[in-house]
């Protein structure tokens, strides 16, 4: 985040928002992480069993 200084601050309201939200960052980050850990176990159960074969066989024709 050392580059922060280079970013222009066009709207004063943003600075306030950043200060106000800074403590919330790690908290929501931790919560998301914990939820993701539970999710990973769940995902193992629905993930395609042979990932390599699945990825290899997913071939599409170009479209549009």
């Amino acid at each position: 985040m050392a580059e922060r200084e280079q970013i222009k601050k066009p709207a004063p309201s943003r600075d306030e928002a950043e200060v106000a939200e800074a403590p919330a960052k790690s908290e929501s980050g931790e919560k998301i992480k914990a939820e993701l850990d539970d999710l990973l176990d769940e995902i193992d159960e629905v993930l395609e069993t042979n990932a390599e074969e699945f990825v290899k066989s997913y071939i599409q024709k170009g479209g549009e």
Binding site: R14, A17, I32, L36, E48, A51, V55, G62, E64
Partner: protein, 506 residues
């Protein structure tokens, strides 16, 4: 004055037949859509086919810059022989190239686009369920809402915006390009690796968009090769004297509803500002195509992008600038042109997302696609100590977009929803009320047996006597519930409707 932004999204879905050794994607797409039609609509009296698409006015080869043939561009082909139908919600559901494609009805604001885009997912899901019964045992058609197979083949998610014909196209190109290059920081669906030859996982392990790898030109007519950032297809599907339709091919298909909402909402406002000549500062990238890719590869969102004047900017700076201009525009002119209330929501969510992206993009893992997908993959990598080229990560990437409810990783992540399921489910059958889609959809619901064909700007009725009657719908903002609701209620038969319309000002 800016033209009211009537918007739609057309999405091509990836398709596979599981359990089949060899499958034809065109046949699979046809099976999928025909199964949906058979399951949802009773046979029509006296007709064997569903309501067909009317190709009379299709001209995708027209170029907004003038004569297409002189520009050396390849006009897209119009495929008239494949399954192609119109739904009662006003949408078009068809086989395009080798994919199932669904174009939402014309919507009056960004929130309705989210609603109809979600309804499209539900339609595809119902189609998969319906198709499974017509396949041999052990086979299943599976649809993916993504834009690439990871092997260099891409298919699109296109947006369409109604615009004022009188605005010089050069001005549109100048001012929409910086938005298209940078809006991906909230609109990107995320992708493991790059499909540009020579770029390995060591260089680009993960990028913000599915699509940036496939763009090679700044402006052009093509959609399947040498894709341009600004597409010049000039086919308004409306009164061509008054309108143009900006056909946008430089977006990802989104699972996250907030991504769709902001992609469409911000673009609608930026286009309105262009029409009203509100954007004075010209942000010209030295190399827009390169900038598009560099933004996509830069997960930290700090990379300086060279401008033509020798200075640099960043994607976030461009977006903050556009938001600032949009705020001033809203204060001076109001946002009626994009729907006042929805427009205000767009401004609030735009600021929230830019603030979070600037602080830490991973804060958005519960709202936007690329941070959601990246967080998931990073946690998975960490847990199992996987390298970026491990096939399980590419599998996670693909399965994020799986539309089967029990397999979709995006659904399991519990991303923020802007429209509830009841509202999206209703939109499977009901048209939007504030555009001409209302007329199209309502006629189809009431008089399907008499509708011979329909398209964006007309409907053809068989009222029992020759010749067939064609009703033009050249004004996308007419044919709304407010406009024709009572007329449609009053008429008992399509013959009455045709007669009434013929003698009145539509």
């Amino acid at each position: 004055m800016a033209t009211r932004k009537i918007v739609g999204i057309e999405t091509e879905y990836g398709i596979v037949v599981r359990g089949a050794d060899d499958s034809n994607p065109i046949a699979a797409s046809s099976t999928l859509i025909n199964a949906y039609i058979a399951a949802t609509t009773p046979p029509r009296a006296g007709r064997t086919a569903p309501v067909g698409w009317d190709f009379e006015d299709e001209s995708p080869g027209n170029d907004a810059r003038g004569d297409a043939s002189s520009l050396g561009s390849l006009a897209p082909e119009v495929e008239t022989h494949l399954v192609n139908t119109v739904l009662t919600n006003g949408a078009r559901y068809y086989v395009d190239h080798a994919h199932p494609e669904l174009s939402t009805p014309e919507c009056g604001d960004a929130l309705d686009v989210v609603r109809y885009d979600r309804a499209a997912e539900l339609i595809l899901r119902r189609s998969m369920a319906a198709a499974s019964s017509s396949l041999p045992p052990g086979q299943e058609i599976v649809v993916y809402k993504n834009n690439s197979d990871g092997k260099g083949n891409s298919y699109g998610c296109h947006e369409n915006y109604l615009m004022d014909r009188l605005v010089p196209f050069g001005r549109v190109v100048t001012h929409i390009t910086p938005h298209f290059v940078t809006r991906q920081i909230f609109g990107g669906a995320g992708k493991v690796g790059s499909e540009v030859p020579g770029i390995g996982r060591d260089e680009v392990p993960f990028q913000i968009t599915q699509r940036a790898d496939f763009f090679e030109e700044e402006v052009g007519l093509e959609t399947t090769l040498k894709r341009p950032i600004v597409n010049t297809r000039d086919e308004p599907h409306a009164d061509a004297q008054k309108y143009r339709r900006l056909h946008v091919i430089v977006g990802d298909a989104n699972m996250a509803q907030l991504a769709t909402f902001l992609k469409v909402g911000t673009t609608s406002i930026v286009l309105a500002m262009i029409e009203d000549d509100w954007l004075e500062r010209e942000i010209r990238f030295a190399a827009p195509v390169q900038a598009l890719r560099h933004v996509s590869y830069d997960l930290g969102l700090r990379r300086p992008l060279p401008l033509a004047d020798g200075t640099t900017t960043t994607a976030l700076e461009v977006q903050w600038h556009l938001l600032e201009r949009a705020r001033a525009y809203a204060a001076a002119r109001g946002l009626d042109v994009v729907g006042e209330e929805v427009g205000k929501q767009v401004l609030v969510r735009w600021e929230e997302v830019l603030t979070d992206l600037e602080a830490d993009p991973m804060r958005l893992a519960d709202r936007l696609d690329w941070p959601a997908k990246l967080s998931l993959i990073e946690r998975y990598r960490e847990r199992d100590g996987l390298d970026w080229d491990h096939p399980r990560l590419a599998a996670l990437d693909l399965q994020y977009h799986d539309l089967r409810v029990e397999r979709s990783l995006a659904s399991r992540l519990g991303l923020e929803q802007l429209v509830d399921d009841a509202s999206a489910t209703a939109a499977i059958e009901e048209p939007p009320e504030d555009t001409r889609a209302y007329f199209r959809g309502t006629c189809l619901r009431r008089w399907r047996d008499s509708v011979v064909a329909a398209n964006w700007d007309s409907m053809v009725f068989d009222v029992g006597q020759d010749p067939l009657r064609r009703i033009p719908m050249m004004e996308p903002s007419r044919g709304t519930r407010a406009h024709v609701g009572r007329l449609l209620e009053r008429c008992e038969t399509p013959a009455e409707l045709v007669e009434q319309l013929g003698s009145s000002d539509r």
